[in-house]
């Protein structure tokens, strides 16, 4: 697939790449900070940036609502969260826009960017996305609600109930399952017995499509079409993006206790970030100079964000009594 054939300009393609790379570089930095004892926890986007950013670029980033799950660094960056915001979250500082340091990293939320607050129990965001789409329909707003989850999470009751509800009422929702082959240690084969997660769509009377999650353009195209459908009032779509979780489940996990290094290495060879870089290089959109420039730019950004966040204050102990109810 070519970026021009799915309707993306050269600038947009480069912008997409930058966003993917930023997600990757932030994530890598988080691991460094974790391993050096500076932040207690990381949960990674690595291996899923292509799908996340490809999808986000197909959305209308000034009206649509997103309900990302914990790996969606690419989605939140595309929707306006900054490296600094993410570092403030990593360090759990008072200024963290997601939760003021109340939640762990990966629990996104930022109202001004229509990034809907999320929790840890997986899949609860799916009915929320449906509710937002319902509200949009009632208010006659032209927008969609975009929700993501892991393939393991697609086995929760809330996935089923939410998807069915959305389809019965033809609501503008895009369900995107980021299939990274594992739910912590449990491989896909012990999570589901269907061939594709998108096989579930027909049971809700909606289109289901499986795309290569390492190809941001394929994902862009699928989400783009799903959005058109949604806006026309034709209802929701289920999209499965297939890729691989390149890191352990989180900084608390040891993935080599349940999978082989060879398997991980094989997946790394198909890494969407590098794949897309190659694509852009072949088209001469990404020259060595441009590439160096981007890397430099991102490094400065991340360094600054890290410094800022590291030095920012924690929330006051007494602040825990605030915001239980409206004040």
């Amino acid at each position: 697939m070519e970026h021009t054939s799915v309707g993306l300009s050269d600038e947009q393609a480069i912008d997409m790449y930058k966003t993917m790379l930023l997600a990757r570089r932030i994530d890598e930095r988080m691991w460094l900070l974790n391993r050096s004892g500076k932040i207690p926890f990381v949960v990674s986007c690595q291996g899923q940036e292509a799908a996340q950013v490809g999808a986000s670029f197909a959305l209308n980033r000034s009206v649509d609502y997103v309900l990302p799950y914990y790996r969606d660094v690419g989605v939140v960056l595309a929707f306006g969260m900054t490296a600094r915001d993410l570092m403030l979250q990593g360090f759990a500082k008072a200024e963290d826009p997601n939760s003021g340091g109340r939640q762990m990293p990966g629990h996104f939320g930022q109202k001004k960017n229509r990034i809907v607050t999320g929790s840890s129990p997986v899949t609860t965001q799916v009915p929320h996305a449906v509710g937002i789409a319902l509200a949009a329909k009632m208010e006659k707003k032209e927008l969609v609600s975009f929700v993501t989850l892991g393939e393991g999470s697609s086995n929760q009751g809330d996935f089923h109930e939410g998807a069915n509800f959305a389809s019965v009422h033809k609501l503008p929702v895009i369900f995107m399952v980021e299939n990274n082959q594992y739910a912590i240690s449990v491989p896909l084969s012990k999570q589901v017995a269907c061939e594709k997660i998108s096989d579930r769509a027909i049971g809700y009377g909606m289109p289901g499509i499986t795309v290569d999650g390492n190809d941001p353009l394929a994902v862009y195209d699928a989400v783009n079409k799903a959005r058109e459908r949604a806006i026309k009032g034709e209802g929701p779509t289920l999209i499965e993006t297939v890729s691989y979780r390149l890191t352990p489940h989180s900084s608390d996990d040891d993935d080599l206790s349940y999978r082989k290094k060879e398997e991980v290495d094989e997946a790394k060879a198909k890494d969407g970030v590098y794949g897309f870089a190659n694509y852009l290089r072949e088209l001469n959109l990404l020259t060595e100079t441009v590439e160096q420039q981007i890397e430099e730019e991102l490094k400065v950004l991340i360094d600054e964000a890290t410094d800022y966040a590291e030095n920012a204050p924690y929330a006051e102990p007494a602040s825990i009594y605030k915001h239980v109810y409206a004040e």
Partner: protein, 327 residues
């Protein structure tokens, strides 16, 4: 002021709030054309149409979860659980999500949903159409639980719940629906959530209770009055968070306290009430705090012999009151 039934007060509050604010809508099973299995939403479908009085698929987690999503967007959903017993599949959405959205997002997001559910026994409903379920939720800061006893309180508190900026569980005693009637002003009014209400002034013993049991207590108090025993009755109205001041004041007033619930005794709301009293006005007491409650068995059986043994009634209340008065 017209005399209307408890359920008519519900319908009236819903109608008036829907007329007042376009963002208010109702969703649940059979709430549309059928007007609800108890007819609490009778007439609303005709007046407000399908989208604002929405029949949902049979899936409580979605009813709650979609409502939560819509509330986060800015709507004022009123979700109906057909029977309180069937709220169980929605517990995750209510406890993990609704109750924690404001807090976890550091006040960035909020969740102004009202969840209505008919609870309580004495209606030949057997194990799964008779339960009191408030105790399950009465340990979740972020949530409010309202359980009104009279049509006047129903109307004022349901309106307050809908206008409240936080999630409210609104539990209606299904035997009160048609059995309890009372005067209700035609004008718009609300009553404060979080405040208990004195339903009868008295000097010899204090009864603290809520829901249908308020009426049993009032009936029994009439009888005791004939024997010169003066009963003070406090109606909790909001069972979570409790109105501690009112509880302490009412308990201290007579020094003899009877707590009543229709729920199983151990772990019920009145345990917390007893704890508050024993923490704050122990030395004002002239008798042990007495509790009258349902037996500690899973739920109310169907056969009339057994249902009667379980269910609270004015005779049981009267007996307990006399025992306490004589202490």
């Amino acid at each position: 002021m017209a005399v209307i039934s408890y359920i008519q007060a519900i319908t009236m509050a819903l109608r008036e709030e829907m007329e007042r604010d376009e963002k208010v809508f109702v969703l649940g099973e059979d709430v549309g054309v059928r007007g609800g299995v108890f007819r609490a939403t009778d007439g609303l479908y005709n007046q407000f149409g399908e989208l604002r009085v929405m029949d949902t698929p049979l899936a409580e987690s979605a009813i709650a979860g979609v409502g939560i999503g819509a509330a986060m967007y800015g709507m004022r959903p009123v979700a109906e659980m057909q029977f309180a017993d069937f709220i169980m599949p929605a517990v995750n959405q209510i406890i993990s999500e609704a109750a924690k959205i404001r807090y976890r997002s550091n006040n960035d997001w909020s969740c102004p949903i009202t969840i209505r559910a008919p609870y309580g026994g004495g209606v030949h409903g057997a194990l799964y159409h008779s339960q009191s379920i408030e105790a399950i939720f009465a340990n979740q800061p972020g949530l409010k639980i309202v359980m009104p006893s009279t049509p006047y309180d129903v109307k004022g508190l349901l309106k307050a719940a809908i206008r409240d900026d936080d999630p409210v569980l609104f539990l209606e005693h299904k035997r009160a629906y048609r059995a309890i009637k009372g005067e209700v002003p035609d004008e718009d009014y609300t009553l404060p959530i979080g405040k208990a209400d004195c339903k009868r002034e008295g000097t010899d013993i204090t009864v603290i209770t809520y829901g249908l049991c308020v009426h049993f207590a009032l009936q029994a108090a009439e009888k005791l009055a004939k024997d010169g025993i003066s009963v003070h009755i406090l109606d909790l109205r909001t069972v979570y968070p409790l109105d501690k001041e009112a509880i302490v004041e009412a308990a201290a007033k007579t020094g003899k306290v009877l707590l009543i619930t229709e729920d199983n005794k151990e772990g019920s709301i009145i345990g917390e009430v007893a704890a508050i009293i024993s923490e704050h006005c122990l030395f004002d007491l002239d008798a042990p705090i007495k509790r009258l409650a349902g037996p500690d068995v899973p739920s109310m059986p169907y056969a009339p012999t057994m249902e009667k043994e379980f269910m609270m009634n004015p005779d049981k209340v009267e007996k307990a009151m006399r025992e306490l008065a004589e202490f």
